[in-house]
């Protein structure tokens, strides 16, 4: 079953083709960094226009790379929940046009399900349910117990900022450009992770909640107070604090819930030292850790196509009337991980 997956939830325009949830036939991602760089962040109206401009090319490249045509598609999957509304609507409109013109099923999905399912693609039998998924990206830091297809239990979440957001903020403060994660990681490799003793909020509290705002403030203050500060040392010490927080809480949740398989998902999963640190802890406890291939960690269309296959088998397709939503509950159980007011 060949599925075209589309994701335009934020600033990347992406499309990919995946065969039956497992075999990635193509995965094309066009970033908009250049269009937003001089603003130091993403401008939603510009993002929408850029998506509109590129979407047809990206879809065409995804089909060309997979060596197929529109007529070979069996379904089209798209992220319609979670992200920037102005951006989401473009991908949704494109996906609906493909569904309508090809007369194939449309599958609307939560962007985070794409991130989570990037762990199941290609290795469904290796990673049986239940497992713990640390989903950590630009807009989320969640600990989810994945009990079955599209069934999640919320075990932990952040009270304030998402981890990726803090990487981006630090990069902006240091003038490292956007997105921040890769730049901070690169500079951190040359620094001393013990140079600064940044706070690790809530790390000793016996709960499963994250908080990054105290860490963010401390790091930004350190840079602003001492313009001569060694940026590599700041990045290394900051990154170490994030890793300590993420690994400590993840392992604590895993132990408390008896989960011995831990999956990592989302953009921050690209962080090498984080992968290494979590892997080390898992090995010590005889747990198994799973990380998606790099191309499937960042926002991409293939992960939507992969997740779309499993969700389509679970609940069928959607009508052409589905609507984009900036915030939406997750999965079949409607998990809510944001303040209630966000869902209105």
């Amino acid at each position: 079953m060949l599925i075209l997956g589309i994701d335009t939830s934020c600033d990347d325009t992406s499309a990919g083709v995946v065969d039956s949830g497992h075999t990635v036939r193509s995965n094309v991602i066009a970033s908009q960094y250049a269009a937003h760089a001089r603003f130091g962040g993403i401008v939603p109206m510009i993002a929408a226009r850029e998506h509109t401009q590129r979407i047809s090319y990206i879809i065409q490249s995804a089909l060309d790379d997979a060596q197929i045509g529109f007529g070979d598609l069996d379904a089209v999957a798209v992220a319609h929940h979670q992200g920037l509304l102005l951006s989401l609507v473009v991908g949704v409109s494109a996906a609906k046009s493909v569904a309508l013109a090809c007369d194939i099923p449309l599958i609307g999905m939560h962007h985070l399900e794409g991130h989570i399912y990037s762990n199941l693609m290609g290795r469904q039998h290796e990673l049986p349910f239940p497992f713990l998924c640390l989903t950590v990206a630009g807009g989320h830091t969640l600990l989810l117990k994945v009990t079955a297809h599209s069934r999640y239990e919320l075990l932990g979440f952040t009270r304030d900022d998402a981890a990726g957001e803090v990487f981006d903020k630090l990069a902006r403060t240091l003038g490292l450009g956007f997105p921040g994660g890769p730049a901070v990681e690169k500079l951190a490799a040359e620094g001393n992770p013990q140079a600064y003793e940044f706070p690790r909020p809530l790390i000793n509290q016996p709960n499963f909640e994250f908080s990054f705002s105290g860490l963010k403030t401390a790091v930004i203050q350190a840079v602003e107070r001492d313009p001569q500060a060694n940026a590599a040392d700041v990045c290394a010490s900051f990154q170490q604090a994030v890793i300590d927080l993420l690994v400590t809480k993840t392992i604590r949740v895993a132990k408390a819930h008896g989960l011995t398989r831990i999956a990592l998902a989302g953009g921050v999963a690209l962080n090498g030292p984080l992968r290494v640190a979590l892997q080390r802890e898992c090995e010590a406890l005889n747990y198994r850790m799973f990380v998606p291939p790099r191309d499937l960690c960042m926002d991409n269309g293939a992960m939507m196509a992969g997740a779309g296959y499993f969700l389509y088998r679970l609940r069928g397709g959607d009508p052409l009337t589905i609507e984009a939503r900036a915030n939406a509950p997750l999965g079949q159980l409607g998990i809510r991980y944001r303040p209630e007011s966000k869902y209105n």
Partner: protein
Amino acid sequence: MLQLLIDTSGPYTMAAVADEGKLLGECTVQGRPAARVHELIRLLLMAVKTPIEAIDLIAVTVGPGSWTGLNIGVTAAKVLAQVRKCPVVTVSALDALVAVHHWDRGQTWAICKAGRGKANYSLYARGPALPGLESGITEFGALRDRLLQDVDPMVLEYGQTFRPDLSRLPAVNYACRERLPVEGMILAARAAAPLHLEEVLALTPDYLQPALAEQDAQTV
């Protein structure tokens, strides 16, 4: 020559099918283009008993109008055209408005709010109006001064009204429309040259100039 027409530029979402300029069917609903435009197209094609494969040309409004609506409509049209490998014609909402309005006492000004005190406008000679003489985006104050100096002009507004600022204009010289007339869209589409597939793939709503978004660029 069967034509599918799509408009999501304003408060109404419209899909229509025409054959050689003759209207075969139209569906219009108020608002929410994101949810409705594709479903409207599907229902309409069923109603006029035309499979999507039979469509030879797609016409779509490229503005001026709602930023969100235009992105949705243009994307819908270009991807449909991409799959069906059919050409696209782009239509100015202001042309569509003027195409069905006969005014032979002077020039016609079609205008539409662009936010932050600016307006999109197109100026047309005394009938037959299309194609226009000039169009652009400008400070509303400057535009108002120009059109109030004109001799017996017709001012046609699309969407929200600037009427209080135009109160010196006699009522007969002014009209505001919330809906694009489908006949106007058909006429405007016939006056435009079809885009080739390469141009269709690159299509972006004309009126969405990055400079507009940059003026109040708020990052997230």
